[in-house]
Symmetry: C2
Subunit: 518 residues, 2 copies
């Protein structure tokens, strides 16, 4: 049977009970922190209208959107459109085609028992064409293309969401009148991308976002840092860095050089400092249109060192003549000032002006989170944006800021560091095993007593060998077993076994209950 | 802007924070009970391979499966197939078509800068055809159809899951070697159906299933009844009925009449007793191929009255000569016997032989749950089946049983009965409002102190009018507000307001904390 085992589509995954327990632990931990900071959960449909999604992710992104085929009669309606097009072509050439007077028929369905079948229509039509007309190949290409290649567009009106941001923007516009701003929402749902699957990249994966819209207060930025700190500390991470930058600082840098139009080239090059060093970055900057003179201005910034305060002071000097640059510094200083009054548990906070993620989107703060314990890409990121709903021609400009947790990567980090707590991922706490079917009623009564005390308990259906039952407990990582045989029934003392240590005791049901509740 | 507001696809829904809180309450309550009985969560991908789903739901069901369009180059590959077909047609007729020697080109992409463009190929091909050959219309129809009508099948290889049962069966086959049986799993995920949307029927909705496979013990049936009882009692429902039947009893009835092949007709008719009464049922039975003599045997069963024990006794007499019928009764008696030793909190248990849901699928117990407090369809159902994985040609026959909760209907019931508990759906517990921006730092310190005590707290970004801040608390159903002005700063006593009663007190921060934690 191994040969024709059904499989899941490429790039998608099943999650086993053990994996789900760990995933739930991650999501629950993050959600609890979101809620503590006033963020509320929403959900949007898995599918959005195609027009809601297209054009929002660039050409490359658009290609990765999973489209949903319209069902049933819509395919025929698209076929009908092709016929219309063909008829127009024919008419333009002064040739009158009689479409069999089927206009009043039910075109929508194409049932076999329809008076005139599709086959009849097609045959007749082609006959007419071939008998009487010689098309040039362009027209035929059009016909051909409109019924095949382009069919993809006419038969799909819905698509699976590609991220949580665009559906959120759509949600805000759809519900603008019901929402009280500032609107602090979080959303944990799967997204789908027709990316080429590879290690760590899936076609279905969860995103885990929190955003506030309708507030320009930098309090929000400070709180995002606290949220990262608290959630990741709760996972037991001991060493991670929250990098912060501000788009306005990057704009300021491009401005003082007099090349604001090269801001993207500048940041792309600077971003590579870690990999290619100053020499590499300088070379790339020259290739991308900067001069030696520009480099002199940029180098101190690229090599920016010291603690955050020292960095801020250096930047103030460099950006002294740039209004927008100074504004960026003021914003970062304000965020740092808020945080001075707070207890940051674990996070290192690092001003990093080479941080440029989402540059086209963010207008203020930019965040990125990295663990220093495991080699791994960023496990979180976000920033501030000026206009969430502009993509939907909303008149009201809504500023906002948001962050995201990379749940799949966090999973890998916790796995590698063995940080998943046992009790958080524990399913059934105790399994009751009967040596014989005759103890079934006793076992069933006991299991229900345990459950009444909110203990997660199971009775293995009596009749199986005890080894099989213990094996079940073992495989399911059940912490304790209770064994019931004739000896136990007589004495009233049940065999209570710690499955991890192997330790076994004879205890009354009451004592077992007390132990389990401890 | 109301005019071109973006909307969600027909039959799908956004869930607001208030709705999500209620939905989470429902799912969390059910999941907690599932876990208490040893069921573990799994998740399967939203999309399955088309062949995994098709043929499992009948012709009508197949039509309602949402198919996902293959992306990018696969459409061209399907076009390529059409060309191949055309070439074959041509070759069969002894005509050699030179496909421009493009076989070694990258057919997969069709970029504009490809040496030979699709347009070139198409034009050339059609030219050749039109110059040299006269097809009969059948061939052309084939070509046409293979590139348009049938395109729907070639361009989709994946589909959204239609229910949780088939993906679960697929999961069991895929992971058979890793699973420890009996496998008790639950799954709470959305499913998609291209049904005509109408009140209470959606194209995307959550199913909430628990199944055990690999165990034929009737303990499982008894536990399902306990799970229903516990979960629905936890919701605060005061009056609901769990109906139970057994497919073998229905088989037995058809057997004693000597018309086992009419079992479906029999149950469909009997099922209508509530609506059309005995006269109606009898009439329908006669129409469906039963005789007056058959009716005499069936009538006492249709009118079966009394408590469950009395019903069982009547059935024993009626089914005395049917082995399978008696087996069904024995099974039901066993389930009742298990339950005698348990505390059933609220549920009424009713043997109802007119219950026939999922008749084609279930082979043993059949369940259905109805609330008696609100007019509403069933809020749960399930049963036992013989062979979960047979649909995938699995050699190992896996018997199992499962139940399902109707989350959307439970939502409506709890809403109508006003049973959603306030604390379960409460988001932020306290909002801190500053009369002036100068109190911001104090407010920020306070909000973080509250959060350190695990209180869900927010600081409204200072600067807004106090009325606007209180309005925000009101709209977000925040229970308490703390107001900070110069008087409060001087005295150290903060204004603490209960938003529901309007009661306001001056309290120290410590006292407020104590009150909030109480």
């Amino acid at each position: 049977m191994a040969s024709n085992k059904p499989s899941v589509p490429k790039g998608t995954r099943d999650f086993s009970p053990a994996e789900m327990a760990k995933r739930n632990y991650i999501f629950d931990t993050i959600k609890t922190v979101f809620r503590k900071y006033g963020y509320q959960e929403i959900q949007t449909p898995s599918m959005e209208n195609l027009e809601t999604l297209t054009g929002k992710y660039g050409d490359e992104g658009d290609k990765l959107i999973f489209k949903i085929l319209n069902n049933g009669d819509l395919i025929n309606q698209s076929l009908l459109k092709s016929f219309d097009k063909l008829l127009n072509l024919l008419n333009e050439r002064g040739f009158e085609v009689d479409l069999l007077n089927v206009e009043n028929e039910d075109w929508g369905h194409g049932n076999k028992d329809q008076k005139v079948s599709w086959r009849d229509i097609t045959n007749k039509l082609f006959d007419q064409i071939f008998e009487k007309l010689r098309f040039d190949s362009d027209d035929l290409f059009e016909l051909y293309q409109s019924t095949s290649l382009k069919l993809g567009n006419t038969v799909s009106e819905k698509a699976l969401r590609y991220d949580l941001t665009v559906p959120f923007a759509r949600y805000v516009v759809s519900h603008q009148s019901e929402i009280t701003f500032p609107f602090k929402r979080f959303q944990v749902q799967p997204v789908w991308r027709a990316d080429r699957p590879q290690k760590g990249r899936y076609r279905e994966f969860y995103q885990c976002d929190a955003d506030v819209v309708g507030s320009d207060s930098l309090l929000n930025e400070a709180e995002f840092i606290l949220i990262y700190d608290e959630a990741l500390s709760n996972f037991g991470l001991k060493d991670f860095t929250i990098k912060i930058n501000n788009r306005k600082i990057l704009s300021g840098l491009a401005e003082i050089i007099g090349k604001p139009q090269l801001i993207v080239d500048m940041t792309v090059a600077i971003d590579k400092l870690d990999k290619i060093g100053l020499t590499g970055v300088s070379k790339e900057l020259l290739e991308r249109g900067f001069t030696e003179e520009d480099l002199q201005k940029l180098t101190p910034v690229i090599l920016l060192e010291g603690n955050n305060e020292e960095k801020v002071n250096t930047l103030k000097t460099v950006l002294a003549t740039s209004e927008i640059g100074l504004k960026g510094i003021t914003e970062i200083e304000a965020v740092f000032a808020y945080l001075k009054n707070c207890t940051i548990k674990t996070a290192k906070l690092e001003l990093d002006i080479t941080l440029a993620r989402g540059l086209n989107y963010y207008t203020g703060a930019i965040f990125e989170v990295k663990t220093n314990e495991v080699a791994m890409g960023s496990i979180g990121g976000g920033g501030r944006y000026d206009d969430l709903t502009g993509m939907f021609d909303s008149k009201q400009k809504l500023t906002g800021a948001g962050i995201s947790f990379g749940a799949d990567r966090i999973y890998d980090v916790l796995e590698e560091l063995k940080l998943f707590p046992e009790d958080a991922t524990q399913g059934t706490q105790v399994l009751i095993c009967c040596f014989d079917r005759e103890f079934e009623n006793y076992g069933f009564t006991l299991v229900n007593q345990l459950r009444q005390q909110e203990i997660r308990a199971e009775l293995y259906p009596p009749g199986a060998k005890i080894k099989k039952q213990l094996d079940y407990a073992d495989k399911k990582s059940i912490a304790f077993t209770i064994m019931i045989g004739s000896e136990e029934m007589q004495s009233g003392l049940l065999s209570f076994k710690n499955m991890q240590t192997g330790e076994q005791q004879k205890l009354s049901a009451d004592n077992i209950l007390t132990k389990l509740k401890a």
